[in-house]
Amino acid sequence: MDPVVGIDRAFWYILVVSAIFLTGITLVMIYFVVRYRRSRHPQPADIRGNWQLEVLWTVIPTVIALSMFAVGWKSYTGLRAVPAGAVQIEVLAQMFSWIFVYANDKESENLLVVPEHTPIKLNINSLDVIHSFSLPAFRVKADAVKGLPTYVWFQSGDPGEFDIMCAEYCGIGHSKMLAKLKVVPRGEYDAWLEREEQ
């Protein structure tokens, strides 16, 4: 399964269950406030607790929370398991740009070109402070820390252009530390790799 699908499913599972909870709590709260207003209900009942109810509303949320943890964790493992045969590209972050180094030592700045429908593994490192490689279209993000190599991978789909941003605040040019991901057909990618100029 494409990790993007896994992440999105986990995301929406948690969000929808939460929205149901929130709506329920809010409606019940408003209903009680209107229904039991003092002018209509001057004599309150003396209820101090109900242990069965309290056990129930501890156990059920625990089960739901654990299920959320499980889907969240499972979707995360998808981000970590790189399929064999992925195209490997080195990513170097610096104040304030992204440098991409390909297998044949070709370098490009702020432009990442990858072939379509291929697993891509990006090996990330930083040359100075902490940056964070963020590619929201493919749901991946990893901090670039000097001396601590890390990676992300994604399955490139149809050709297209996507935004790459720096997500970890890194100084005056942080918001301008942008790059483009270009997914292109295989032939175009091979030609681009061999081209000298950038």
Partner: protein, 538 residues
């Protein structure tokens, strides 16, 4: 009933007059008020900075300030809001004023330390101001002071970090005072299960303050040492580890978010039963959930670090623990809502704020589940989704609880009542503004807009413009709320001793209370939220 002179008319120690009666006081109530004015000053300042940040983001490119100013401004906004408003706010003001009264005693255990902690608070604030104008200006690091950036930047990081260190000392002393007061000065007739929930929440908070604050204090000193002595502990260029800093930072700063929210939960746990005239549902569950949050909340810090490069095992463990900490919070929300069942509810500004708190805080808590889940967090980590999430908890939560507390205890602290109509209008305006301000940020975050960004891509323009409109409404609402409270000093409508029909001890003493709080040893109810007596009298 013969009127007893209030603490306003009786200096402590006796013999002090004029301004000295305030600046040298040992009276917990005067100190509470001194904190009130200082905290409100900082809150107003950081609010204005927040509005300016929002105006800058209204349109793409430069709107009103440069990137450098923007970076220092969001750091200043964060530092002030966290260290000078949200952490000390409720405990230092309302805790100091009401914890001893709720316990049936005349003061905190260490009144002089209490005064010292106020001076440390003021000193920390002054240092933050001084660092604005000296040696490179206010830091541009964000309130998190992440290394190695905070080591390399030319801005005045050491002084600001030292200011945070001093403020930490202040909050530790307050915590120490609360723990000792609860143990040693509580009315002899009051058992543990007779302590009001606000005081319980302060007790849980105080433990976290005393145990976790030293971690950040040491870490901040290490940052200073790193900058001044180049020891290379966190600098990867010298073999240091930046991730170590993040662990140390969050080891305090995550428990600190429970320091921020627990007192707010305590406030709501007082207000809901009072205006319901009904026992709080599940008193013991709320007490234990406070302690549960304090303990479990201290073990989840690295959920701020899923993208940092730490091991997958660590992510597994911290994600699991994070979901467990959600349970005691859910229990509290269910208890509050159930308290309203078959109650006799009177709407009032404090109750309205408390109900809005429950809604906004629930949104904040539930979106926290998305962030606690390993996979989904990777997508929205360090985006505006996180900004919206923590503003829902810290502002919609603690902020609204603070507003609720102001309206709840204002008549007790000053003996005067404010205008209700304006208070309702302000609350509505603030809430509508709040939602328009922060809901777009959730969407911007899901689209991938990074936080702490001076500028943004065209696809984020619409959401940012909408958020700014919301921000202006929000600002107007809060301004109206504060003006309304201040206007009560002009109209001076006297408030009775028990305007709301509350049954904790602060409502049994005059408004404002006399110097020693109680004229005789107070009677302690077997159960702190027993409204039979109140109902009989009404």
């Amino acid at each position: 009933m013969a009127t007893t002179p209030s603490f306003f008319e009786t200096p402590a120690p006796a013999g002090l007059t004029g301004i000295k009666a305030w600046l040298l006081t040992h009276d917990h109530k005067r100190l509470g008020l001194m904190y009130l004015w200082a905290v409100l000053f900082w809150f107003a300042l950081a609010l204005v900075i927040g509005l300016l940040l929002r105006l800058e983001l209204m349109t793409m490119g430069r709107t009103i300030m440069s990137a450098g100013v923007y970076n220092s401004a969001f750091t200043l906004h964060g530092v002030i809001m966290i260290f000078l408003f949200v952490i000390p706010g409720i405990p230092a003001i309302f805790g100091n004023f009401f914890l001893p009264i709720q316990l049936g005693t005349d003061d905190v255990f260490f009144p002089r330390l209490n005064l010292l902690s106020w001076y440390l608070y003021i000193l920390g604030g002054l240092l933050a101001i001084v660092s604005l104008f000296t040696a490179g200006g206010f830091p541009d690091t964000g309130w998190t002071f992440y290394v190695p950036f905070s080591i390399g930047t030319k801005h005045n990081v050491p002084m600001t970090v030292f200011a945070a260190f001093i403020l930490g000392m202040s909050s530790m002393l307050t915590g120490l005072n609360f723990i000792t007061t609860v143990h040693r000065k509580r009315s002899p007739n009051m058992g543990w299960m007779q302590i009001p929930l606000f005081t319980w929440s302060l007790y849980a908070t105080a433990w976290v303050q005393v145990l976790a604050t030293p971690v950040i204090s040491i870490t901040l000193l290490l940052v200073i040492a790193e900058r001044l002595l180049n020891i290379g502990l966190f600098d990867p260029g010298r073999g240091g580890d930046p991730i170590l800093y993040q662990h140390l930072f969050w080891m305090y700063s995550h428990p600190a978010v429970y320091v921020m929210i627990l007192p707010g939960m305590g406030v709501v746990s007082e207000i809901i039963p009072t205006f319901s005239r009904k026992a709080i549902f599940g008193y013991k569950a709320i007490v234990f959930s406070s302690m549960g949050i304090a303990i479990a909340g201290s073990l989840v810090w690295a959920h701020h670090m899923y993208t940092s490069g730490m091991s997958d095992t660590a992510i597994f463990v911290f994600s699991l623990l994070t979901f467990l900490v959600a349970i005691p919070t859910a229990v509290k929300v269910f208890s509050w809502v159930s308290t309203l069942y078959k109650a006799s509810i009177e709407m009032s500004p404090p109750l309205l704020y408390a109900l809005i708190f429950i809604y906004l805080f629930s949104v904040g808590g539930l979106t926290g589940l998305v962030l606690g889940a390993a996979g989904p967090d990777i997508h929205v980590h360090d985006t505006h989704f996180v900004v919206a999430h923590f503003h829902f908890t810290m502002f919609g939560g603690t902020g609204f609880a603070f507003f609720a507390a102001l309206h709840f205890w204002w008549p007790k602290m000053f003996g005067i009542m404010y205008n209700f109509r304006r208070a309702y209008i302000a609350a509505t305006l603030t809430t509508v503004g709040f939602l328009f301000h922060y809901v777009p940020m959730f969407i911007l975050g899901m689209m991938g807009m990074p936080r702490r960004s001076y500028d943004y891509l065209p696809q984020f323009a619409q959401g940012n413009a909408l958020a700014t409109v919301g921000g202006i409404l929000l600002f107007t609402g809060i301004a109206l709320m504060l003006v309304n409270l201040l206007l009560s000093f002009r109209s001076r409508i006297a408030a009775p001793a028990n305007p709301w029909g509350g049954c904790t001890l602060e409502w049994t003493v005059p408004s404002p209370p006399p110097l020693h709080n109680f004229l005789r040893q107070p009677d302690i109810q077997d159960y702190p939220y027993d409204f039979t007596e109140i109902l009989r009298k009404s």
